[in-house]
């Protein structure tokens, strides 16, 4: 875990996230959102959780980002109008950030280095998913199916609407 890699990735994530939050055009924001998530995946790699990083890229860049750009495309009339910016949110966000940073740097137990661990293999994750976490896994499957059907019903053309 090298410091240079940490700094580069951290700057990438924060810059891309700031761009996603503040760029006026929706498409640019959505693309910087994808970049930020690639950066977070790189962080997971750095932390030794390769599998989570790969899942992150797969789900967020491959699926969620594509969903977002499709939604932007379908609601295009709105996407080109510039967005009003509410400065109240900035104040609240900075206040929350100050509070969090104060808490993090005031806790001495957090200034520890990483211990040596044996790498977490995909096989191990699979075993754990199929033994200790088999019920959560089934529940997530159920939630995803429900979300799929729910999303489909929400956007289905209403055949007998009066308009």
């Amino acid at each position: 875990m090298s410091t240079a890699a940490f700094i580069v990735i951290a700057i990438l994530i924060l810059a891309a996230a700031l761009a996603a939050a503040s760029l006026p055009t929706l498409i640019h924001a959505a693309l910087s959102f994808a970049v930020a998530f690639v950066g977070i995946a790189a962080f997971f790699f750095l932390l030794g959780a390769e599998f989570v990083g790969l899942v992150q890229v797969f789900v967020y860049v491959g699926a969620v980002a594509v969903l977002i750009v499709f939604t932007i495309l379908l609601t295009r009339r709105d996407a080109t109008t510039p967005d009003k910016f509410n400065w109240g949110g900035v104040v609240i966000a900075i206040a929350v950030f100050n509070g969090l940073v104060w808490a993090i740097f005031r806790t001495p137990a957090l200034s520890i280095g990483a211990p040596q661990i044996e790498p977490l293999t995909v096989k191990r994750i699979g075993e754990v998913l199929m033994t200790d976490y088999v019920w959560p896994l089934q529940c997530v499957g159920l939630v995803l199916t429900a979300a799929l059907i729910g999303a489909l019903i929400l956007v289905m053309e209403e055949k007998n609407s009066k308009s």
Partner: protein, 395 residues
């Protein structure tokens, strides 16, 4: 001697690295990665040049004409001429284009295609980047191609580009499901996500001649065919090239690109094709293993590239043979046939495994696939039933 030839590239790399002794650790790591990257790029750029001219020659042969035969012996230097032509063309960017997105799209599409090539084992000890979740990496990188195609379509600010991009994304998302699900049986039977482990599991020979490739089992053969068809769609090749159908929407998402950017798209398409075929070889055709035990003296990478070339030839053959399909046909085929068959392969592989992986399992799993195939083809048979012709007048 055999071993020497087999490992010659690995040895060469090991000879190069000691030149750096004394340098810090990260320099050596970086150098090692760079050697891998340059070897990969060198090999596949050469292959790209070769395949692009061979494709035109083979297509020419299939259509009863000469292919390119003017530049160099047998027209083999055609790619050089094409490259120079592409490089010196004017690079046109539309005035109303989203400049940044328009510029980044070809870079991103080429980068994803090259990254996907990195996890495939090309020979014994010859995986450029051996990571534990290699298959997942391949698909994670592959799925970002959709975003790149969208960027190309949106950035061009052109109706044809946007239509082409929408078509491309729709069919890529639809066929990504069968593509990924057909790899599940292999991953399940091997019990690992790493391409090296999958290739290792296909080593050895039954009765001294039959290789243990997964394509020799019924579920493997079915999954291989499904995987290959999905691969055709993912790389936007004929007969599934509606995203860039010349007769309908000019060139799809590449309409507004010219010069070197267009060449980058072209290259990315071929690299994507190499990556998908390479993964098909790894998953189903035994990777770098020799087909017959007696032929093991030939180096492993030769076998890998022979199989890869065979698959690429089939790609070209299909292009020279089949007409383009309609959009609705592609979608119906994906959701009504490919997806159920992909799940059937999974069930069939489970049956094969629990019947002891022997002859009984072989027959049972064949049975499962045949039953589902027949049932499906009965169910989705949408041919018009013609009645006998009757005339209202002039009887």
């Amino acid at each position: 001697m055999n071993d020497f030839l087999d490992q010659i590239f690995v040895r060469a790399k090991q000879m190069l690295l000691p030149l750096l002794t004394g340098a810090p650790d990260w320099v050596i790591q970086l150098a090692s990665s760079l050697i891998n990257i340059f070897a990969l790029l060198g090999v596949f750029l050469t292959l790209f040049a070769l395949i692009s001219v061979l494709e035109r020659k083979i297509l020419g042969r299939m259509q009863n004409r000469y292919g390119p035969n003017r530049v160099g012996p047998f027209g083999l230097f055609q790619p050089v001429a094409d490259g120079i032509k592409m490089l010196i063309k004017e690079d046109i960017v539309p005035v109303r284009a989203d400049k940044v997105v328009h510029f980044l799209a070809p870079i991103m599409i080429a980068a994803t295609a090259i990254l996907a090539l990195g996890v495939i084992p090309y020979g014994r000890n010859m995986t450029p980047f051996a990571i534990d979740g290699g298959i997942l990496f391949f698909f994670a990188v592959g799925s970002t191609t959709e975003l790149a195609v969208f960027m190309a379509g949106w950035g061009s600010n052109n109706k044809f580009s946007m239509l082409g991009a929408m078509r491309a994304i729709a069919q890529m998302i639809s066929y990504e499901l069968p593509l990924i699900i057909t790899t599940f049986p292999v991953v399940m039977v091997v019990g690992a996500l790493s391409p090296d482990a999958i290739v290792a599991a296909q080593g050895g020979y039954a009765l001294g001649v039959m290789p243990h490739w997964f394509v020799t089992t019924p579920w493997g053969a079915a999954a291989f065919i499904l995987f290959f068809v999905s691969g055709l769609v993912e790389s936007n090749r004929t007969p599934f090239d509606v995203p860039e159908g010349e007769s309908e929407i000019v060139a799809g998402h590449m309409t507004e690109y010219s010069g070197f950017k267009y060449a980058t798209f072209f290259m990315a398409e071929y690299f994507g094709m190499f990556a998908i075929s390479g993964l098909a070889v790894t998953l189903f055709l035994g990777g770098w293993h020799a087909p017959i035990a007696g032929l093991q003296f030939i180096p492993s990478y030769v076998w890998f590239f022979a199989k890869l070339s065979a698959l690429l030839f089939v790609y070209i053959w299909v292009r020279g043979t089949l007409p383009r399909t309609r959009v609705d046909q592609i979608m119906n085929f994906a959701w009504k046939f490919m997806l159920p068959m992909a799940f059937t392969c999974l069930v069939s592989a489970a049956v094969w495994h629990y019947q002891g992986r022997g002859l009984a399992g072989w027959l049972w799993s064949l049975g499962v696939i045949v039953v589902v195939y027949v049932a499906l083809s009965r169910l989705i048979d949408t041919r018009k039933k013609f009645a006998t012709r009757t005339y209202r007048f002039a009887e």
